[in-house]
Symmetry: D2
Subunit: 347 residues, 4 copies
């Protein structure tokens, strides 16, 4: 059987190398080519010795990668994907974009948060937001997938079933998220400097200014049917991987904790990658690290009458490379867990 | 000049050894004796080699320590301090209790959360809640100080000035706290087992069940003049020391962000150990670790109309041993920063 | 095709759960049963929520596991495997023992280091030391495999080719090894208590007293043909996984660095799991973590005329569960990398 | 009493800010001025918020700092100190240089390892190598102190008494050192990038190429009276602070372990900052972190006839800023522990 030829644009960033690592053991695909603006013409194993013995790929130009591939993963800083996607589609290739370029449907929102307009509106009409468990049918039919952001994935999976069923109020959603340091990528910065992050925890972009906010609100508003605004505070924690979103909300009048719990269990009953923890257990990132899983625990504070959801994913897998591969599997009709069989280590 | 003879009951727990370490360099006191139920008759340097060359103290019995000391620090598990305090007071000694025995004024609350009644009500009438910056005058006159809990310290310092001035609403206070692992003490448990905590973050006691809740609410209610209920979720993060409380609340009708900011600045203008960060800066635990400082940053989310406070302390210093020494300094009329001069390392 | 029924005795220790995690995705086997003395009759996912949704196994008794399995993995503290292996063999089952019971061939050495005699000498004659790359042919034919220790694996793979070819002197081998904390297992101890290990590094069992020494010396002596004694100092480092052995030795008269390097390259030319790094690169544990790989870098100090080898493995995979599965694959004639395809993450 | 006016050149690097932090609580000195090439004219608390409320210093030019100070600490990259020291001495100021410019006495060695000649030979004649416990009398009389490197300090303190007394052989000294990440400074690099260092350990500059080697050999050769060459391998470990040097050597014919142990105990009997651990205990960095202490444990491997020394310091304190202050205290006749009273936390 012929394997699908895939390419990775931006293979030496953290998301790119994670994609390559996972795709090298995916039995349905062959990584045909990779590009890197920083390491062009270098062997990937000279940059990432963890792959030594498992690939002899050399970083090529973007054009070469497009030419050699049937499906492209774009792992680039925001704003660089649209043009490449345009070229790729023109050549009949499929695209999974791991940046933000195609995530927001509303051009004015995109302009407001990212400071630029859409390059080509018709391209955006062909794209779909690749939250696999929610948009599976649309993903099958689309040539461009906007792979969701890491924080939005952890949040949307927990809240969408509740909002769809109007089980929580729309005006009191407070999200306190914690992310591992790889979320900041491989680019050098004081924030990611070892001695600054280690033995530290720091909130950042406090006060409604993180670019994931419009993406989160787009998903939640769509599910609820009305515009929703959330409070969202990200924190940097001293771990390599993982996101925990602790979400505070209020129940609607006509419901209760058991109803909420059952709704979530039912919503993900047939989903391999989303697990609602048994009542009484509490989610922690260790249980999903390095896997494509999302685990969600559900709690109720009777004294204060608040619902608390704890949702965990690996920011680099379900929050980036893993979900991108899941999207490819859906697009191509492969078993959805192909290349994503790895289970989270206990430690 | 004669030095004050102080004793530490429970010197080999994490709080106890931190007290000893700090007191050994306090120029007004002499550590006269220490006790430990686990290591009686052992040299403390055989248990804690970091003190080698700086003390030759040997762990003695509780009675010996009481007899040799003028002021006692009790660093014991909850429920063991009342009886010892009773004995010590009868001998004319002063007491700083770092446990929870004297923190709650309402006996019924104490019974509800700790499962036992007060041993001796008159003892509780002599005690005062030792939140130094708030209760300084009462502390001067009291023979028993209930040293505040770590989470409550970080929270009360941020909220009390706002509640006193009715700048925030009482019904929407959500506190998402993150604590280093030393908060769980030296007792062995899977939670503190290296491979379980490392590369992990986990919420615990989710849903209004942590014993610090009545202590937090007691402080906040007193400041506001009405009963307050809060949502409080603690998280364990993989650092040794430090607490960050991210606090979400709503402004009262008649106020605004600038008023809130100025109120906090004024409240702590003359306080050495509490600093309100300049606008635009964000608090992180690294800036206070190993010091007795509390730093608070103040943020406003205009989109969602919420006030966000980030308050950081070292859980073992300002949240335990440091504040206990600050309380002793106030009780004895020493300069309040004696023994607490150490500045937080930048890394 | 029928899958091989395998069982894990001691499934809730760190090595046991790592075995289970890997075996659950091994396409040739079915985990038929698992045992745990601490958690008998409990669902494994209640102990290890990382496996939630991927198995419904319940911890059974040792006898049940033996009865249900064709091949058994024993992941027990030292001294408990011999009797179980005896029972299993009597029922015609195969055994991979991850403890030390079958590692030493010389009963007097075993008695000296472990304080007990062999239970049944004939059982030991049927066992083989499962260092896969070295004893592959013997492993195919043996019903009991003594899976090597973690430190010995990292050391033997680096030194055996050089000793076999007499390229280094036998009297000057100094090994400074560093291990992650999971090496100490799941049992609670102050050594593995988070606040004690974190931000620390500590040598332990210094001065020729670690039980891996006779195992190391047995492998090296056999390769060289004469008795060898080594200096071996293990250190505990604050990471979950990984071993780095920095090995200092002296070249034989008739050789040089290039010869040494080429000998190692040739020795592992056809081995998937052992890689000699290109000259100039330096091994680090990150490149092998979570994989079954061993990477070795080779250095020469001209000023001091010493050869330095840096050898890295994941202590839980190539140093335990991974090599055990590799051994099973060899015993059963499966492709040697089955269930071990996972590549080390770059971070 | 007038306080000594001190200045720090290079105050925003890791060593510089550590100096400032410690000097701010030194009762005999006033930090008159600080410089920083990267942050000139900025408030130091805007760069390092940990000092907020404790200083209002602003970064000035090098010339201003020299003019305002009586004693200067130079915390600069290698090669920048000589010229500044020249200027300072011409103005009658004293200098403690924390770089490498004055450490090597032999100009040809300096040229070989640092690629440049001495700027002004007469300046070097006025300088002394500031290993406090060894060169105390010379330090008192010298206007320029070459503050020792971090690795060399941990090694020289352990070996000098043994070499002076000819208790170990000169031809077999193997040093395996482990250092925290702050040793690499505040400059951004992939090596210090969080996700690369975390959960990793990596040897670097393997094979006799680290610039601390000539400094180490200079100290050891001087003590022994003959030229000594060592094997030295540094490793980066995932902690912020601390150095552990594990040192392997051979006893001279006429001695034994007890003699070695007693010699070390006697050598440091009256030294506050160097402690030889009781027999049977093993040094670990946690016991000295954040203090100016060096702890050394002494072990003998009877099987292999090797002596093993484990020597630990905090690389930023005894290995840099602390020893620099100790040097100043000696130069100025202050109690040697002024400003260095802080004891290592137990965790």
């Amino acid at each position: 059987m012929n394997k699908l030829k895939v390419g990775i644009i931006g293979a030496t960033g953290y998301v790119g190398i994670e994609l390559l690592r996972l795709l090298l053991t995916h039995s349905e695909v062959e990584v045909a080519a990779i590009s890197s603006s920083s390491f062009e013409k270098m062997k990937i194993t000279d940059v990432y010795p963890n792959l030594l013995g498992y690939t002899s790929l050399i970083c090529e130009s973007v054009d070469e990668v497009i030419a050699k591939s049937e499906l492209l993963f774009l792992a680039l800083p925001h704003g660089l994907s649209e043009e490449i996607a345009d070229t790729a589609l023109a050549q009949g290739k499929k695209v999974v974009d791991l940046g933000a370029d195609f995530r927001l449907e509303d051009e004015s929102e995109y302009e407001k948060w990212y400071g630029k307009k859409f390059l080509n509106g018709s391209l955006h009409e062909k794209s779909v937001y690749g939250l696999c468990e929610v948009n599976r049918e649309l993903i099958k039919a689309s040539p461009i997938i906007a792979n969701p952001g890491c924080f939005p994935t952890s949040i949307a999976l927990a809240l969408i079933p509740l909002l769809k069923n109007k089980l929580i109020k729309k005006d009191m959603i407070i999200i306190d998220s914690k992310s591992g340091v790889t979320g900041a990528g491989r680019g050098l910065s004081l924030t990611s400097h070892y001695a600054e992050s280690n033995e530290n925890i720091s909130p950042y972009k406090v006060g409604g200014v993180h670019r994931h906010i419009p993406e989160i609100e787009q998903s939640l508003s769509k599910a609820f049917g009305e515009e929703i605004r959330v409070v969202f505070t990200p924190h940097l924690i001293p771990v390599n991987r993982g996101i925990l979103s602790t979400i505070y909300c209020e129940l609607s009048e006509a419901t209760n904790y058991d109803k909420v719990y059952e709704t979530l269990v039912e919503a993900y009953n047939n989903e391999q990658f989303v697990n609602i923890l048994p009542k009484g257990q509490i989610a922690s990132i260790k249980s999903v690290t390095l896997s494509n899983n999302c685990q969600i625990s559900v709690h109720f504070d009777e004294r204060a009458n608040k619902l608390i959801l704890c949702s965990v994913i690996d920011n680099m897998i379900k929050g980036a490379a893993g979900q991108a591969i899941q999207n490819m599997n859906i697009m191509m009709g492969y078993p959805e867990n192909k290349g994503l069989e790895f289970l989270a280590p206990a430690f």
